[in-house]
């Protein structure tokens, strides 16, 4: 169902009345970011796959299309969304791209934004604009499509998204090996620095989980080269990790933090429980220590931290930005949404 006009009309009237809008897809990521404010702008009705050409590795769909529908369509052709996005509920494509979250496969295939080829948006001036397209390589004009990915709806309403997709590995196998936390990072580095068909690499004490994907003999030869026992219920672990259904995520009341740091960074002396995903480059921390300590720690390492889930107030959720970078965010926001209507304050208080 094409609701482009309806959505555009709603935006135009919001501009006229200076009404702030809270863009809502499936609502599955309402917990994420700072507290949503503004009048809900539902976009899940704007749905449907517009084009899918398996031989092109390109899929174009409207923002409200359920992620599950897209994934099953792709699976029917032996293809997949290479960034393995978390759903966290009845997720839509638009929400997945706006949130910019990628799953366990990310270090080996790429992030959401890596696969965004083009977008159609409504800007804060009420214009419907298209950027990028449906081809693999395109350097005409600024790459605004990728900028929109992960912008949490602060720059515009995503209407359509064109994505690169990839063939799924013929088969995937997970190996599990028990190792002490002190050796986890070193073991992961050893694996990632070899030519191996890895598709997942995560340490959850006391186990290192190694997912391998490819043709049958490629997987067999990798299994022979990598130490570890083949797991039968492999799917459950990666799904539980991606959807945050493992006990690590569901038990207790401590805050859940996500840290993005260089993968070999030693585990710090912060009080809490860790999962080291993405070969160490994405770390989940359950901790109740002050936010400032965690943001400071991440900043010292040139990385960043996100207060991913909290039962407390949703104030400072994302890494504080240095002043010059914060000013640039502000001017960019004005370039897309001069009246500051879209998802105000969802990412940073200032915009």
């Amino acid at each position: 169902m094409d609701l482009t006009q309806e959505i555009q009309t709603q935006v135009v009237s919001a501009i006229a009345q200076r009404r702030e809008l809270n863009i809502v897809g499936g609502g599955s990521k309402a917990f994420y970011g700072r507290e949503p404010v503004g009048e809900p702008l539902p976009v899940s009705g704007h749905r449907g796959v517009i084009e899918y050409e398996p031989g092109e590795l390109v899929l174009i769909a409207r923002c409200g299309t359920p992620l599950a529908e897209i994934e099953s369509l792709l699976a029917g052709e032996g293809q997949m969304l290479p960034f393995e996005p978390p759903h966290f509920g009845p997720a839509t494509l638009g929400g997945a791209v706006a949130a910019g979250l990628s799953g366990p496969r990310r270090p080996f295939t790429g992030a959401v934004r890596d696969f965004v080829l083009g977008v159609k948006i409504v800007t804060g001036r009420g214009e419907v604009l298209s950027f990028g397209g449906q081809v693999m390589k395109n350097v005409a004009g600024f790459d605004l499509s990728r900028l929109l990915a992960g912008s949490l709806g602060t720059l515009g309403v995503l209407l359509e998204i064109s994505l690169k997709v990839l063939p799924s590995p013929v088969m995937e196998v997970t190996l599990r090996r028990e190792i002490p936390p002190a050796l986890a990072l070193e073991s992961m580095t050893k694996l990632t620095n070899q030519s191996l068909p890895l598709t997942g690499l995560c340490y959850l004490e006391p186990f290192l989980y190694i997912r391998i994907g490819g043709t049958e003999s490629a997987v067999a030869s990798a299994i022979a080269a990598v130490e570890g026992e083949v797991q039968d219920d492999e799917e459950n672990f990666w799904l539980g990790l991606r959807e945050q259904q493992l006990p690590f995520f569901t038990e207790g009341a401590a805050n859940l933090w996500r840290l993005s740091v260089a993968p070999a960074t030693p585990i710090p002396d912060l009080q809490g429980e860790w999962i080291l995903d993405w070969g160490g480059a994405q770390r989940w921390l359950r901790a109740s220590i002050p936010a400032k300590d965690i943001f400071d720690y991440a900043a010292r390492l040139g990385g960043h931290a996100t207060l991913f889930r909290t039962q407390g107030l949703r104030q400072q959720i994302f890494q504080p930005l240095p002043p010059a970078l914060a000013r640039l965010h502000q001017t960019l926001k004005e370039a897309f949404d001069p009246h500051r209507l879209f998802n105000p304050g969802r990412m940073y208080e200032a915009f």
Partner: protein, 498 residues
């Protein structure tokens, strides 16, 4: 010279050159500022050598601080700046201005850090693409993007253009292979985009900066990702008696679930030029060849090359050779990599285009190019990244004949408009620069262009960085009078346009 600077794209200032020389000399090393005619000459063009202009001044800073000082002196006086890397760009992005400073970053050429445990390298913008891979080699790592000019082109230029290469299909473009940038805005503020992890905080400025053609900021440090060198690689050389069959084979390879490391096509004209040039053993009787590289572990390569061979044979290849060892693999590639020099041997000049199209339109567009070639009576060779749908038609011409370049450009423009019409783009990896600035009016509508200008203004409110490149003013587009192709719908679709 056929480029045209539109009056609306000129930054006016009354600063005498002598004043600017005095201002900049204070900040730069003895030999770091050029103003003598003879010294300026080498900087009058980049890789698009048909377009030239003598620079006003050339600054060659050696440090970040010097870069910043140059920017501040220019900003204070309202003097525009064009950034230049190694000068290998193919779209005239580094074409100098009559009254602007050409800021060359080639002397910022230090490799600051190779970090094997984190698989990254931190480098200055003047480091060449190939030097990064060399520096990482003893750790068994490499930097994946490999534009043809990789021995000479700088990583800073790669970032500015979002450079590709022959391995994009599997390994992506520059944007997929960098993780952090440090840059100065024209206001002299230093910004870090991205981070030491795989993703940065806030908006994805790293992606926005990549491919921004020197319009948004001056990159002074780049952290690139390194990958482990694949254990094995093999190239299949498939020969076809019909270019349409070769085009269909490209789609068949992808549809078979393969993601080759590279999938390149050369047509008969290119094959012959290469064979005359260096005799790599390409089949002269073929109308087209495909080079299909598979890489990974030994087992993966074995499996995938078997599948690829079957698919190529089923698609109608009359011959499929599989490289038996590393020496043969290199020989298969050598011809492809020498295609441009080989063309240089048989023609005084050639003009390389860069349109990208959806793969399933390949056969149709190649036929369209052949018709246009006939119409203009100019020969066109096709050597290109077929797997990405990224065409590089090479138009053969003799620049010493009056009007030949203009005719060549008209043919080039028609080829690009054909690409846009089938749902493609005017540039896959070479950038817009000044070369394709008019075609931007075809690719984008008024409101999209205005959005680009708004983004530019957020970074560079006075418009001093690389004015007149990459994003046309609306005044230029009005004058160019291009028909805006929207979703492949042209006004008067009944007209024959080939």
């Amino acid at each position: 010279m056929t480029f045209h600077t539109h009056p609306s794209e000129v930054i006016h200032h009354e600063v005498p050159r002598q004043v600017m020389i005095q201002a900049l000399r204070r900040h730069l090393p003895e030999d770091g500022l050029l103003w003598e005619e003879s010294e300026l000459c080498p900087f009058e063009c980049d890789g698009l050598y048909a377009y030239r202009r003598t620079p006003w001044l050339v600054a060659l800073p050696e440090t970040r601080e010097q870069v910043r000082s140059v920017l501040i002196e220019c900003r204070e006086r309202g003097v525009p700046v064009v950034i230049r890397g190694a000068g290998t760009g193919l779209s005239g992005g580094a074409l100098p201005l009559d009254k602007g400073v050409l800021l060359s970053l080639t002397r910022l050429n230090r490799i600051l850090e190779i970090d094997p445990a984190n698989r990254m390298a931190r480098v200055e913008p003047g480091v060449t693409n190939a030097a990064i891979t060399q520096a990482a080699a003893n750790h068994g790592l490499y930097y994946a993007p490999d534009p043809s000019s990789q021995i000479a082109c700088s990583i800073g230029g790669n970032v500015a253009e979002n450079a590709g290469g022959v391995h994009c299909l599997k390994y992506g473009l520059t944007v997929h292979n960098i993780q952090r940038l440090k840059f100065f805005t024209m206001e002299g503020e230093e910004i870090t985009a991205g981070g030491t992890g795989l993703e940065g905080p806030g908006l994805d400025l790293l992606a926005l900066m990549t491919g921004s053609e020197g319009l948004l900021g001056v990159v002074t440090e780049i952290t690139v990702k390194l990958l482990p060198v694949p254990e094995s690689a093999r190239v299949l050389l498939a020969a076809f008696d019909d270019i349409g069959k070769a085009a269909a084979a490209v789609a068949a390879v992808i549809q078979a679930g393969l993601v080759p490391a590279g999938l390149e096509m050369m047509d008969r004209f290119a094959i012959h030029a290469v064979e005359d040039f260096m005799r790599v053993g390409y089949p002269r009787e073929a109308e087209a060849i495909l080079l299909c590289e598979v890489d990974g572990t030994e087992a993966q390569v074995e499996d995938e090359s078997v599948v690829a061979q079957q698919v190529l044979e089923q698609a109608g290849a009359f011959e499929v050779r599989v490289s038996r060892n590393e020496a043969e693999r290199r020989r298969f590639w050598a011809g492809r990599k020498a295609a441009f020099p080989a063309m240089g041997k048989i023609t005084p000049d050639y003009y390389c285009m860069d349109g990208t199209i959806p793969r399933h339109r390949l056969a149709e567009v190649l036929a369209g190019i052949a018709r246009l070639s006939e119409k203009y009576q100019l020969k066109v060779a096709n050597v290109f990244h077929a797997g990405d749908g990224n065409l590089h038609p090479l138009i053969i011409y003799d620049g010493s004949i009056p009007g030949a370049l203009e005719k060549t450009e008209r043919l080039g423009a028609e080829i690009l408009e054909l690409c846009v019409r089938v749902g493609g783009t005017i540039t896959g990896e070479h950038g817009v620069g000044i070369e394709k600035i008019n075609q931007m009016c075809v690719q984008f509508g008024r409101e999209e262009l205005q959005q680009f200008h708004a983004v530019k203004q957020a970074f560079d409110p006075r418009g001093l960085l690389n004015p007149g490149k990459a994003v046309p003013t609306l005044a230029r587009c009005a004058e160019f009078g291009a028909m805006h192709v929207h979703k492949g719908q042209l006004p008067h679709p009944e007209l024959e346009r080939f």
